[in-house]
Subunit: 466 residues, 2 copies
């Protein structure tokens, strides 16, 4: 991150770091579009009433006021004020309802934008960051197969980022119906409460969670232990999952409550389908992990979190789930499935822990030298000829000593310096143009109409230390 960034929580990349972020964005977009997702961008603001409605982040919004309103902001109720969006899901649900007549359903969209969270500055968390989301939204209904396809698209996108040093990513999936059915089967009613406490497992450990389940959610010791036992269940395929689940259900008598048991088995069937189908396409990419709870209360089925190998402390880098009731209008319901990457955190990890770095700061492959300010037009003509053939080129800022021009190229990481032919006084022939690769030291005659940079140096790229 850029040194001395003066507003805490608002990260800003140096040019070389931005190259990495730009490559990540380009790569994700390419994968999303290969999979038929449609790119949209929503406005950065929503009505306060929309922002306050949903989920856990409602306490962390930024409200706007025009300069003229300063001093009497409170004349307007918060619901009627504008605020910056804190995620891309609330804007999506509003966009879908607003433009439903113009969209084809199911609507598969990708979206990468900044979001803002009005957190306390001292917490050291990002208050401005980029999210990269894919969602599919149905009109009325949405087939279950999307619950396995969407995490797989994210896995294939994250797989592409391994070229820049990202470790292997694994999606951990659970299902709200499974959890809710199991808890109800135990005799617990405060489902949201139990999920909220289970969500703290990684942070505070099983003992503390058990205590909270008893204190906050009305569980007895055995119920609390049952919840923890369910949360410790993981499985790599549907039959392992079913076997372990049925054993637990029997052990804690969940199957004595037919209605609850049936709900849990619905969730079990979906989750089994997900891990089995995913295993066919990308073995090991999606596992069942029944401690995944997700804080947001709008999920109604599958929930996902994604972890990187060897980066447990980073937590989930890509989360989401199925929400049947996020958007609605009158009788119409728009169920969806979606996942969201916290892109800024991911890029930060890639830069600082995975060793990702840009091959060069400048997009230019060539710096054309200038012998004399009077000859600048010649150098510009060479640069323009290269650009017309798709080769990014820069021209030396001044006709300084050659060493200084080469140093400028070096500082920007531009691999080639082009020396225009100099007419030799008293000689009808001028020398030929030459190109020097300042990394390898090779220097050769070159024709502006046909010269090509070596593949290795043709484009800005992102590499990493293995």
């Amino acid at each position: 991150m850029a040194k001395g960034a003066s507003i805490s929580g608002f990260p800003e990349w140096l040019p070389s770091e931005r190259v990495v972020e730009q490559h990540v964005i380009d790569t994700l977009r390419r994968v999303f579009e290969l999979n038929g997702f449609i790119g949209i961008e929503t406005r950065a603001v929503e009505q306060g009433s929309s922002l306050l409605k949903k989920g856990e982040t409602s306490k962390e919004i930024y409200l706007l006021s025009r300069l003229q309103e300063v001093g009497h902001e409170s004349d307007t109720p918060i619901e009627d004020r504008l605020g910056l969006h804190f995620d891309l899901t609330v804007p999506l649900s509003r966009y879908v309802v607003e433009h439903s007549g113009d969209l084809a359903f199911p609507f598969k969209r990708w979206q990468m934008q900044k979001v803002w969270r009005g957190e306390r500055p001292q917490e050291g968390r990002f208050r401005e960051f980029v999210q990269a989301d894919i969602d599919v939204v149905g009109n009325g209904e949405l087939p279950e197969h999307y619950e396995v396809e969407l995490p797989l698209v994210m896995v294939s996108a994250l797989e592409e980022l391994r070229h820049y040093g990202l470790p292997k990513a694994t999606v951990h999936a659970n299902n709200r119906k499974l959890s809710e059915g199991f808890y109800r089967g135990l005799g617990l009613d405060d489902i949201e409460g139990v999920l909220r406490e289970i969500d703290k497992l990684d942070k505070i450990g099983a003992d503390e969670v058990a205590k909270l389940l008893v204190e906050q959610c009305g569980a007895n010791q055995e119920q609390a232990q049952a919840c923890l036992a369910l949360a410790s269940l993981t499985a790599h395929d549907g039959s392992e999952l079913a076997e372990k689940f049925e054993a637990l259900s029997k052990q804690y008598g969940v199957d004595n409550n037919p209605e609850a048991y049936e709900l849990a088995r619905q969730g079990l069937a979906t989750l089994s389908m997900i891990v089995d189908e995913a295993a066919k396409i990308r073995p090991g990419s999606v596992i069942a992990d029944l401690k995944i709870a997700r804080g947001l209360d709008y999920y109604t089925g599958s929930v996902y979190e994604t972890f990187l190998e060897g980066a447990a402390s980073l937590g989930s880098i890509c989360s989401g789930g199925r929400y049947d009731n996020l958007a609605s209008q009158g009788n119409k319901r728009y169920p969806g499935v979606g996942l969201s990457i916290g892109l800024s955190r991911l890029v930060s990890y890639m830069l600082h822990s995975a060793g990702a770095h840009a091959s060069r700061v400048s997009p230019a492959a060539v710096l054309v030298a200038v012998w004399d300010e009077e000859d600048r037009a010649d150098s510009n003509a060479i640069a323009n000829a290269l650009r017309a053939r798709g080769i990014a080129a820069d021209v030396a800022p001044t006709a300084a000593k050659l060493g200084k021009q080469i140093k400028y190229a070096d500082k920007l990481g531009i691999p080639y310096v082009w020396f225009p032919a100099q007419s030799v006084e008293g000689d009808d022939n001028s020398a030929s143009d030459e190109v020097k690769n300042i990394i390898t030291g090779d220097q050769n005659a070159a024709d502006v109409k046909s010269w090509e940079p070596d593949t290795l140096y043709a484009r800005q790229s992102v590499n990493f230390e293995a």
Copy 2:
């Protein structure tokens, strides 16, 4: 623009419109990078003190407050609050000063981001829009040749947009030193005032401007007429410009004030250089137009506005200039030259007046049909094989009747529908896969390992009605 967008001034594109915006952004980026500009992104917020310092838009900023601060926003002075940036120039100057040690100068950067202006909602102007900027910033000094190169980069970028229906763009250039020298030579002192009134010429006409020059800037009738005469001067090359300027200077006795006359001639020399050099590379792309004033007071040399042929009412779509004193730190000065495209307005014009439209909504070239939900895995495998070869593919949402699946492709503009081979009962051989182009009606056998879409249908593109 999306119908029913419920917050006035915050435009939001429908998916098909967003395709056009995305193509414009991609095209501009490609041209900027071909010319060696480095992409950066700055945070969306700046300190109130920075936002209030500069230029004409300081009255139009949005300030932020966290939800917890509501009701006591005024405890914090505006200077210490955070606000959304209203352009990309103020953030650039802050970025350059903050990270000067990490940048190579001259620093050539491109930046495309949203900016926000807290205007009154009823004015029907954009309050959130995208700007596309290029600037070059020097450390201490900055060669004059950038004053011709930067507008030419913008011209070549806008030239590329003609493929999407944009009319020809012409940069109108002036020079602050020329204007200031001329006004001072006339005996006028309120240079900023005169520029501000001259800037209104297109809006209110010469008579009203003359009146204001007299009433507001202390001009007499002859001085006002001289200012208007200068503002009506245009020229296509340096010698025409010099001739007309010298004639005016003589006529109004500007050359009687040697100091002022010398300042004006400095500006004249730069402006002549710009139109002559530009004419060599792109004849007719840059003209001298001495009514160009630019409201912002930080310009110190060249100023530019850009107009589209046949779109006078749109006004300038790309403006900028040279600023010698925008950024400084202690003794250090960072002079710059830059231009900014109002991208959202440009895209709006392209969509609604130039007839630009997306060839299709979905990036997918192919929709793979699904005969039966049990066969979905086969259809997914086909789509994945196509994607692996770089062909964007979608899969039918449900195994509905074929007509319904084709209708879904049609609604998204996906040109090809892929029919997986169906094994015929009692027959060892299965029929071959087939692909139908639903636009032309052509249907042929196809092999997923080698099939390619026709070039015309391979990628989403932007076209226009001529």
